[in-house]
Amino acid sequence: MSSNFKDKKYLWDKSIYVFTFSAASLVLLILLGILIVLMIESKLSFDNFGFFRFIFSLEWDPVKVDFGAGTAIFGTLISTLISLLMAIPIAVGTAIFVTEIAPEKLKKPIGMAIELLAAIPSIIYGMWGLFTLTPIMANYVEPILQKSFGWIPVIGTIFQGKPMGIDLLTSSLILSIMVVPFTASISRDAMNLTPSIVKESSYGLGATKWEVIWGIILPYSLPGIVGGAILSLGRALGETMAVAFVLGNKHQIPKSLFDPANTITVTLANEFTEATGDVYLSSLFYLALILFIMSFGILALSKYILARAERRFKR
């Protein structure tokens, strides 16, 4: 009977092993499957346009069957960059406020509000952006920006053009609003991890609140903040519906913040169901493959940076 008992336990352990192993390999298989499908479908476009030519070409002409990813890649990168530039100071500032400066009673409501902001589906951001934000940008914000900065010799060129509200600036703004809650939550958690004894000792030495924040807390939580920022970068890269309504959907390199542009995700969402022609469809798959590789690459890069930063701090 005792040998029976041992066999039963061993069987259970073995099945748990098999189950969890299959679950993990299933995830890997799906990832690989997607990559393989993307590569197979984009082969036609790859044969026609090659690698470097496709990435740097600014053409997107379905009638003349000439496609290039240059405009979409540029749009994706620049909108993500601008949104992060706007979002990270706000997110870190919010986190600092919630952890260090706010009175106890405010901490919980603000924390909850941030998390609610993160829970809003992206298409609602898109609709809100189109109906509410775009008129405000077109009638108030953008003209003021143009008047205040448009005259400066070199920087002023990015404020030229008729402010319509449907442009790079508005979509980057919506992206940054979507990115703030995530980054703020992660930064807040990272800042709460600063050992209080270090903070108290610096206060004891006569440091002001700002000196403690800038000199002690921020360096301690920097890996966490950077990690959060990079995860938000990944999310902003893949955003589609929030941006599709307000970006202007023009295959061009925007020369000003008030110009329409295009991103990979918006191009795919707009043109996929109606893409007639094999090269057209294949080029869309090629774009998707590029985005896949880009996101993968950025995630890998972020893990590497984080690992290095953590090693430096563990010293």
Partner: protein
């Protein structure tokens, strides 16, 4: 408490499934997919058809390109496309094709001091605007045709479609027909490289942008122009008359078209020759798989019913039913191909 919740869940599941059982009787379902433009008409017809015969028509408006692809791969029973396929393409994909309803694409604009139909355009000026050659509203070419209009000294914001669309196909076909520069530079398709302007998603998107941006011009199906109270232009047609978009001008364009069953009704109604014809009209087409004779008979039964009883609901939704002689030609086409 927990037992009560479990009981509640079981009861609601039972109620849900027993309700399901009641409705799974022997109803036939016909699946179609394609153009977004005729979606309001097809769904109105489908509703009335189901009430009368019990057969359900399930139509998904995924766009003309999508409709063509889905009928090509035989995942749906019929495809719908604003862009007619050429006879060679139909032979290659083994499809039948016939028109279902007619509509018009209308340039709409937003100018503070100009009312609807007070702005007239010629094919050359419309082409120049969309090519980016005519940049301002008070350009000489526009002023010449509209001497009394208060045209502002403002840049024209051109709105086009960012997604692939039959509406774009009809509009660009018209521009290619009247404007050699357009034909050479841009061409005709459901998705083209517009030289200037911003792209909106769907007819709704274009209507939204034009409605909000002062000094803009765009093109939409007429139903959207009416529903959103957008100002439309008067356009000079092939006979030289400046025509407003309306049921009558669309009908005129439709009846002047010579649809031939021999080449599967392949015809663009753009730049129709009639005196009162609207220049940017187009029919929307139904595609059927050649080998699926049985299901094709069901589909033609539906459209035959729509040709007899669907005119009123089509008109209510601001579409133009096919002229009667064309309906006859289509019925003969069905008979000749054994799908009546």
């Amino acid at each position: 408490m927990r037992k009560f919740i479990v009981l509640l869940i079981l009861l609601s599941a039972f109620a849900f499934f027993s309700h399901c059982k009641k409705s799974t009787t022997q109803t036939a379902i016909i699946n179609g997919a394609g153009a977004t433009f005729p979606y309001p008409v097809y769904s109105a017809w489908a509703q009335d058809y189901q009430k009368e015969t019990g057969t359900r028509i399930n139509y998904q408006s995924i766009g003309s390109g999508g409709g063509i692809k889905q009928i090509e791969s035989r995942t749906v029973n019929f495809g719908a496309s604003d862009k007619p396929l050429k006879p060679e393409e139909l032979e290659k994909l083994k499809l039948f094709q016939f028109p279902a309803v007619i509509g018009g694409v209308v340039p709409v604009f937003n100018l503070k001091n100009v009312n609807s139909a007070e702005l007239s355009l010629t094919p050359e000026t419309l082409c120049g605007i969309y090519l980016g050659d005519i940049k301002n509203w008070d350009d000489k070419a526009i002023k010449e045709i509209n001497p009394n209009a208060k045209l502002p000294n403002e840049k024209i914001t051109v709105v086009s479609r960012s997604d692939g669309s039959g509406t774009t196909a009809v509009f660009t076909h018209y521009l290619s027909a009247v404007c050699p520069a357009w034909k050479e530079k841009v061409g005709t398709d459901t998705s083209v490289k517009f030289p200037t302007g911003i792209g909106a998603k769907g007819n709704e998107g274009v209507a939204n942008y034009v409605g909000r941006v002062d000094g803009s011009i765009g093109y939409v199906e007429f139903a959207y122009a009416k529903q959103n109270n957008l100002k439309h232009v008067k356009l000079k047609n092939a006979s030289g008359n400046f025509i407003e978009p309306s049921d009558e001008s669309f009908q005129d364009a439709g009846s002047s078209g010579k649809f031939e069953p021999e080449n599967h009704f392949y015809l663009w109604l753009t730049n129709a020759p009639g005196a009162k014809a609207w220049p940017i009209a187009g029919a929307t087409f139904i595609l059927l798989a050649k080998e699926k004779q049985e299901i094709n008979k069901e589909v033609t039964k539906f459209f035959s019913w729509a040709f007899i009883k669907g005119d009123a609901s089509a008109k209510k939704l601001i579409f133009v039913p096919l002229p009667n002689d064309l309906k006859e030609k289509i019925r003969n086409y069905w008979k000749a191909n054994n799908i009546q």
